[in-house]
């Protein structure tokens, strides 16, 4: 059927199969020596799972591919990712010493390699059906659809169903589930025991390594670099060597079509650290980039806020003890401490400070701003006082422009690469045709676009918004003074604002409902929304995420008062 060679005797293409599995020409009854398995070059024959260390694999398969295991694929991906990080300036030890060791440790713990009996030895890989039983007849084997649903990546139900149906039809001979040896096995593994590797998890590995080395890249930055294309993620598999053929279930594992979010990478990283039984990570001290004092400085600059606010962030950090080494350093497996999100924490601290000084109740901050404006008009010596209103206008304008650009970029993502993907061999030619058509159409309409296609990626930058004091238009607020909102009391500078409103009186139980507080269900002042929105944009996380941290900080800050005065609902006197 799939054998298209001409018969040596009669030059016809009209083949049948003998009982012995050999091809014979129906026209002239010439029997060939070719057997079915050999001829079907499109089908990839798989054998039982073998240990990597044994190394007894068939090198040359008929289509030029060879056996490969899923974890090899991930290893390649990690390698590429860390090389990209190196190109961004990360220290070279990260690749050869840190990440490599993490990965080996993982392989060992998950029993995929470096151990005596690899997982799955007792279980036959689903890729082989030696008897002519139908796939579904064996009660021990999970059905294909079940396997597909296990995978974390969002597939399309339609593809999955069509794949499942196309495969189950092939009942008598080898069925094809994946290009890799253990693709189907991989999806079957019990996740709780073994922490199955996924694409988002590669970023968890990267982040873990970065944290170990204490590189000045936060998780939100890492994820942003991924989205901007500086770190391979989306179509890394196209760099697999030729002999590693990808199809079927492999696609479920390696071809993701969504960007991972902060939360999932973060949580996975901690799971991973615990799974690997890692010791306490290197200390995060005051001189570290990830220390709140440092990060606050960075974010204050980026948010175009006065440098003087830094004193206040440091004071808050000190007061609630979140600058302590023990608080900041990661201790894997310790379930009692809250996991620190360095970037979100720093942003939340700034929000709290703004609330302390400006109240942000949609009245007071504007009042203060008017006073500052008056003063600035009449008195130009000694530098300008910070005006909330002006700051808001300037920052909002830039933010809107950037947000609009980002929204357009998100609508213009090209998710697929040129390498055509197909679930099963049956779809191969259709997939190839479609791919060709896509490329044609992209060319045709690309020419009519009027813009340069494939423009250069912007250089990776740590700052998304930048403000220069040299600009004469007065749009930079770094040097502005907070004198307008501060007063001296007993030798100490305190805020003129006497009040504070809590985001929430009672914190929720994170373990129960997943959040500390519920941002969407309460109406907060517009200024508060704006400030959250600003950092939400910078960090590319949901505002509610930052809101949770704000609540946490507030409760630490006003701990004593909360216990004493539970009667007073929202407004507290400092």
């Amino acid at each position: 059927r799939d054998f298209n060679e001409r018969c040596a005797q009669c030059s016809e293409v009209n083949w049948g199969l003998t009982d012995g599995g050999r091809f014979y020409c129906r026209s002239c009854h010439n029997v060939t020596e070719r057997t079915r398995e050999v001829v079907n070059t499109d089908f990839i024959t798989n054998s039982r799972v073998q240990t990597i260390s044994k190394g007894s694999r068939k090198q040359e398969k008929n289509d030029g591919g060879s056996e490969w295991y899923i974890c090899e694929g991930f290893q390649l991906i990690l390698k590429k990712q860390v090389e990209a990080l190196e190109a961004l300036g990360v220290c070279p030890q990260m690749k050869d010493e840190i990440l490599c060791n993490f990965w080996r440790c993982y392989l060992q713990k998950s029993k995929q390699a470096y151990c005596k009996r690899p997982a799955g030895e007792a279980v036959k890989a689903l890729s082989v059906c030696e008897s002519s039983t139908d796939v579904d007849s064996d009660p021990e084997r999970p059905s294909l659809l079940h396997l597909l649903s296990l995978s974390e990546s969002e597939g399309d139900l339609q593809t999955d169903c069509s794949f499942a149906s196309s495969v189950s039809k092939v009942s008598e001979s080898t069925s094809v589930y994946s290009g890799s040896v253990d693709g189907s096995l991989y999806l079957m593994k019990n996740q709780k025991e073994n922490l199955r590797m996924t694409m988002p998890m590669t970023l968890s590995f990267c982040y873990m390594a970065l944290l170990w080395v204490r590189e000045p890249i936060t998780l939100s930055e890492l994820l942003r670099f991924v989205v901007e294309g500086h770190i391979p993620y989306l179509n890394v598999f196209q760099h697999f060597p030729e002999k590693m053929k990808l199809c079927g279930l492999d696609l479920k594992i390696f071809c993701v079509e969504s960007w991972p979010v902060y939360e999932e990478v973060f949580n996975k990283m901690h799971e991973l650290a615990a799974f690997l039984d890692l010791p306490r990570f290197p200390d995060i001290t005051e001189s570290c980039f990830l220390h709140p004092d440092m990060l606050c400085m960075k974010y204050l600059m980026e948010a175009n806020l006065p440098d003087e606010l830094h004193n206040w962030t440091c004071r808050v950090v000190k007061k609630i003890g979140i600058g302590e080494v023990d608080f900041l350093t990661l201790m894997p497996g310790n379930k009692s401490t809250r996991k620190v999100k360095y970037d979100v924490l720093a942003a939340a601290i700034i929000v709290v400070v703004l609330k302390l000084l400006f109240l942000l109740d949609d009245h007071y901050e504007w009042l203060l701003s008017e006073l500052a404006e008056e003063r600035n008009k009449n008195n130009t010596e000694g530098g300008p006082y910070f005006e909330f209103k002006k700051w808001y206008e300037v920052v909002k304008h830039s933010l809107d422009v950037k947000q609009k650009k980002l929204d357009e970029e998100r609508a213009k993502y090209v998710w697929r690469c040129e390498k055509p993907l197909f679930y099963s061999v049956k779809n191969k030619s259709k997939a190839l045709k479609r791919r060709q058509m896509v490329v044609n159409l992209q060319n045709q309409f690309g020419k009519l676009s009027g813009t340069v296609q494939g423009a250069e990626k912007p250089n990776p930058s740590s700052f998304q918004l930048s403000w220069s004091e040299e600009n004469t238009d007065g749009n930079c607020f770094h040097g502005h003074s907070l004198k307008g909102v501060l007063q001296e009391k007993r030798g100490l500078l305190t805020a003129m604002n006497p009040d504070y409103w809590l985001c929430t009186v009672k914190l929720c139980n994170e373990r129960l409902c997943g959040h500390l507080a519920h941002y969407r269900e309460v109406e907060f002042p517009q200024s508060y929304h704006f400030v959250l929105g600003l950092f939400s944009f910078l960090l590319r996380v949901q505002p509610s995420y930052i809101h949770d941290e704000v609540c946490m900080i507030e409760h630490k800050l006003f701990n004593k008062k909360l216990y004493k005065k539970l009667k007073y609902n929202t407004v507290l006197r400092k």
């Binding site: 079509e257 902060y262 609508a411 479609r434 791919r435 159409l441 676009s449």
Partner: protein, 412 residues
């Protein structure tokens, strides 16, 4: 959970589509093309589960862009359409048809014909039966183009015959086209639908070759078969045919009756009223009055001098005969509240007088009878007319004055 905010393929493409939509609505073809370039990879994931899948989207959007974009050529357009034809077998004939429409819009009749012929010969298993309707349309349009070829040959023939030449070859060709056209046109008009252009052409052919019976049957079917959607034009075609055939007033009137019911404001209502007015039957004359009043309810008729003169004539005739004044009363009853402001305001009196004396004459007569000699419109126009020493306006004034009591009876 945070997974709702994850940006994934589908969300990204949905957003892309809305940007395309905005660009199309604002006729920003370059921008639309830019986003479409990003959208086309959805083809890899085309499942016919959705109501309108990616391939159909791309076809329709791409067609719009290529049709309007300044840098796009017909060559590119055609190339694109050919690609779209291979994209979805279920849509093949539809794409062919639309392609043909575009070619016709661009004046490429020959290419359109070729495409139609090609599409006609398409076979694809059970799809052929499923897309039966589209196939009929394709055949119908090919028939239509055959008709145009026929018409061209006919013109050539007549031009030549004036010169005294008779060209057998041209005649043969002409008949050939007729046969091809007739077969296809006949088929499509059997299917319930709105086939104005096909019907017209087919009837034209039949009349030329003298098959009036068939023509009449076709038109009757088209107008009166309840399976067909209500179509004013069907009645118009039938009426025009009957008129050409010199049919009796009776059948002409019956042809227009339904048209009056469906479209009281149709331009043929003047012909209708004229015929009805002259009828000997009372019922018909009554209907005539109803028809002309109904037509003048519509804003488009406000300044139609002919219509007003029809109404004026009939009203005058009724008033003089002093019979059937109740007809006028009945018609006026539902209109007396709004016609004065609608037709007979002082402003309109001035304007009508300036622009069209005949119009103002007709209206003034009607106004004078319906509203009495004291009404603004009549007073102004008749005054102006007498000032201008136009005889008929003097006559008009006398007439209305004499028959003023009629107004009292009508309005009371």
């Amino acid at each position: 959970s945070s997974n709702e905010h994850k940006l994934n393929f589908k969300k990204s493409k949905d957003a892309c589509l809305s940007y395309i939509q905005d660009a199309l609505l604002q006729k920003q073809w370059k921008r639309a093309a830019e986003f479409l370039t990003c959208y086309v990879e959805s083809l890899d994931k085309d499942y016919s589960r959705e109501h309108i899948g990616p391939s159909e989207m791309i076809w329709r959007i791409g067609t719009e862009i290529l049709w309007h974009h300044s840098q796009s050529s017909m060559k590119e357009f055609n190339c694109f359409m050919e690609q779209m034809k291979t994209l979805g077998v279920k849509r093949y004939l539809k794409v062919c048809l639309e392609h043909v429409f575009h070619l016709l819009c661009n004046g490429q009749i020959d290419e359109a014909y070729q495409n139609l012929s090609l599409a006609e010969s398409w076979r694809f298993g059970e799809q052929t039966a499923i897309q039966d309707k589209e196939m009929k349309l394709i055949q119908a349009y090919r028939g239509l183009l055959d008709y145009y070829s026929w018409a061209k040959q006919k013109n050539i023939l007549f031009e030549n015959s004036e010169d005294g030449f008779s060209d057998l070859a041209v005649e043969q060709e002409m008949h050939g086209y007729f046969r091809k056209a007739a077969v296809n046109l006949k088929e499509i008009i059997k299917v319930p639908g709105v086939w104005d252009i096909f019907v017209k052409c087919y009837v034209d052919l039949l009349e030329f070759y003298g098959d009036h019976n068939e023509a009449r049957q076709v038109l009757n079917e088209y107008a009166y078969n309840s399976k067909f959607p209500a179509n004013p034009n069907a009645h118009v075609y039938l009426y025009q045919f009957l008129k050409r055939q010199g049919e009796s007033k009776k059948s002409l009137i019956s042809a227009l009756k339904i048209l009056h019911d469906i479209v009281p404001s149709h331009e043929l209502m003047i012909d209708f009223n004229t015929m009805l007015q002259k009828s000997k039957k009372r019922k018909k004359r009554r209907l005539g009055l109803e028809v002309i009043f109904a037509a003048l309810d519509y804003a488009g008729w406000k300044e139609n001098a002919k219509a007003w003169s029809c109404l004026a004539r009939q009203v005058k005739q009724i008033v003089i005969s002093e019979k059937h004044l109740d007809w006028i009363k009945q018609e006026w009853n539902s209109r007396k509240d709004w016609w004065p402001a609608f037709h007979f305001s002082r402003y309109l009196a001035k304007r009508n007088w300036q622009e069209n004396k005949s119009l103002s004459y007709g209206k003034a007569l009607v106004a004078g009878i319906l509203l009495g000699k004291g009404c603004k419109y009549f007073k102004y126009v008749s005054h102006q007319g007498c000032k201008a020493q136009l005889k008929r306006f003097r006559m008009l004034k006398k007439f209305v004055n004499r028959h003023n009591p009629v107004y009292l009876r009508i309005s009371g």
